[in-house]
Symmetry: C2
Subunit: 133 residues, 2 copies
DNA sequence: ATATCTGTTATATATGTAATATAACAAACA
DNA sequence: TGTTTGTTATATTACATATATAACAGATAT
């Protein structure tokens, strides 16, 4: 796993972990069934506390992106990722609204904003095999 | 001004204020030079503390979206909004990356994501006169 | 069986942010 | 001369973040 933390950032450490793991799954670097480091291992590798990693793993488990077994440890959800729920759509729209407003006020056009969204999505997916969806 | 606060939300009150004012400017509901309610008036209207409104106004002033005068009170930036700086682009990309990853993992396609971005932007601008940019 | 590693849970503590409550000050205005 | 403006200062409450230990029970390997 390639996790880089910015301890000076205003975004909490646990949130950075969540983001980067989700991005790892989206990019294909993490595939369904893949094991993740144990809480203690990862926390030690990153030089942070056990509970910070635990919080991130639990959030991802609650969202359905991870499974946590006594046996297998922590693995990427092998039984299909959660889909586009109405709840997620609503959250997505709300966040996009905030970004779109800030962009529009600064003079960024609708096309530029949509294009930026598109290329960010594409850059994330790029090096993924053709096996998904 | 049409400000609606969700006191149960996990997004801070001051951030909700910032968001909605920026959206007001983006949508054209607030035009350059338009006055905003005084700190005390708005805080009383919304039933929140003076300092919470002050914090929001100050952030917007620092970003260049508002001007604060002893004379005129608080007004929407009349001398041209800040443009698309490199700093803003970077922040925008980072946030879009997080959203795009969550969308991709859930199976939302690149086109659907870009389309969502586009329509959210459009819905925000809709009822704006043709006077901008 | 014994030691070890897993996630899980419980406490406690330090730090920072968010939000509130008062209070006061100086500039501008009617 | 009051009144309203933004501004600043202080104090307090509540909550989130992150850390430090400690212990427990299930699972695994020696």
């Amino acid at each position: 796993m390639f996790i880089e933390l910015d301890l000076q950032s205003e975004t909490p450490i646990y949130a950075q972990l969540v983001d980067q793991i989700v991005e790892g799954i989206a990019s294909g670097a993490l595939k369904p069934g893949d094991p993740l480091p144990s809480i203690r291992n990862l926390s030690e590798d990153l030089g942070i506390n056990l509970h910070t990693v635990n919080k991130a793993y639990n959030l991802l488990k609650q969202e359905g992106f991870l499974q946590v077994h006594r046996k297998k440890g922590v693995i990427v959800q092998p039984d299909g990722m959660p889909g586009v729920t109405e709840e997620f759509e609503e959250k997505l729209r709300q966040q996009l609204r905030s970004l779109a407003a800030a962009a529009a006020v600064r003079g960024m056009s609708e096309e530029a904003f949509a294009q930026e969204s598109k290329s960010v999505y594409r850059d994330m997916i790029m090096n993924r095999g053709g096996e998904q969806r």
